[in-house]
Assembly symmetry: C2
DNA sequence: CGTGCACTTGAAGTACATCAACTAGGGTGG
DNA sequence: CCACCCTAGTTGATGTACTTCAAGTGCACG
């Protein structure tokens, strides 16, 4: 096959990814059954679709979302390189959440059948998997806390700095700026706001000199001031992360 | 020691808990290092506390919460018998979330050191653990979806029916009623509403003939109608659940 | 029979939604 | 090169769901 091997996976170079043993690496390599490229705006997973395989996002941005009865969309999670895709669907047979790409994406497909051997043969990976899920949960907890009560500009500011930090960890930032492909609509669905109010809040952050979002580029003018404004606390990074 | 053994754990009788192999059961039994009783209103875990052990809630109600900078409380999760407590803290060394009891509770304490052997020795339990966490995440996803946009009465109705369903699964309901210890303040913190508006929404649900909350007792007058009103979908129950 | 607490009810303020008009890039065809 | 449109975003006016504050009710406790 012609895709990049796990040994040379670009994500492995990053500080916070698991340093695997040789045996684990071989296992993960064997797990990798395919590499898929999709354009921006593609449905990676349809809501409710039954999937029997797991993916990691090798490159690009994606959103995990759910649809309400009335057809509106709620963005549950912003997926960046290294994020696991499809675990919800794998565990619940069919989860109601879907995944859509924001940019062209590259997916690393892990064969679902062999995947279950992970628990039997590589307990350390299983532990890493749980650590990774719990980190997602922590992020979700913070979001839930912010969404209650706090004004829109603060929530938006928090989303900005949280995303920026994740990108910095991935080495995807340039100085105080980074690429940021979410549109007003995406932000509105993520924060549970209307598109117009996201606009106003973005303007407010800009006028306060905290952050500027313009033409798919996000600039954080002062990390400290924005973190202060948004009540953002730098998370403790410890424990290994999952896979690749 | 004088506490109830896992073989006789009252939770094991329930349909949806894992049916363990003999070896697994012995392992879990050995894991159990203590049984603790706490009164209502006790801090089971202080926010930020470093814990080195895991618990399951054997009996009683509790809330997992987080404090905002400004000292307000956000309820993240309602914990019922069978819920795992302390995994966040164990994984992040110290998580910012705390746990408080609503009723007298009984905790089954699982030794943290030996706990890590779970991954090495009992992969099926590890898989069950992940399934259990993913079920929590699914519940959190639904909550996040509802909290965006939908009016207060619907969100409250959803919380009611969701709790009722979980209790029914545990055999803790009597007909269309159940014990329900959350106060207005707790509900407000769980839904991100003010206490007074929770009151109004509860009145609305009562006047619509959907549900009545009175003196720590919740009555669902029509499961179907309330589920319809609140957009509640009965979750698919499959996969085994974790421990005990 | 008061005192305190959980809850209800009411009136006024606010942050947000909704709808609509307007502005600014960014392609496309002529 | 410009006229054209199309979409993404901004700005403004009005409505509403919620908050906040404050007074009032019912019930448990000494």
């Amino acid at each position: 096959m012609s895709f990049v091997s796990c040994e040379n996976c670009p994500l492995r170079a990053l500080e916070h990814f698991a340093d695997l043993t040789r045996a684990e690496l071989e296992f993960v390599s064997a797990l990798k059954s395919d590499e898929i490229n999709l354009p921006a705006g593609a449905q990676v997973i349809e809501p409710g679709q039954v999937v029997d395989h797991l993916c990691t996002l090798l490159a690009g941005w994606a959103l995990r979302y759910r649809l309400t009865e009335s057809g509106e969309r709620k963005v549950l999670e912003i997926l960046l390189p290294g994020s696991l895709i499809g675990l919800q669907n794998l565990m619940h047979r069919a989860s109601e959440s879907g995944v859509v790409s924001l940019t062209p994406v590259t997916l690393c497909v892990l064969g679902g059948a062999r995947f279950s051997r992970l628990f039997e043969d590589h307990p350390a990976l299983a532990r890493g998997l749980i650590a990774s899920i719990m980190e997602d949960q922590r992020r979700a907890d913070v979001k839930a806390m912010l969404n209650a009560k706090l004004p829109a500009a603060i929530r938006l500011g928090h989303l900005f700095i949280d995303s920026f930090d994740r990108l910095a960890e991935l080495g995807r930032t340039q100085g105080d700026s980074c690429y940021f492909p979410l549109q007003r609509r995406d932000l509105a669905d993520a924060l549970g706001l209307s598109e117009t109010h996201v606009s106003r809040s973005a303007t407010e952050l800009h006028e306060r000199g905290l952050a500027t979002l313009k033409a798919n580029s996000l600039t954080i003018h002062s990390q400290r001031e924005l973190a202060d404004f948004a009540g953002y606390r730098v998370p403790r990074r410890d424990g290994r992360r999952f896979l690749l």
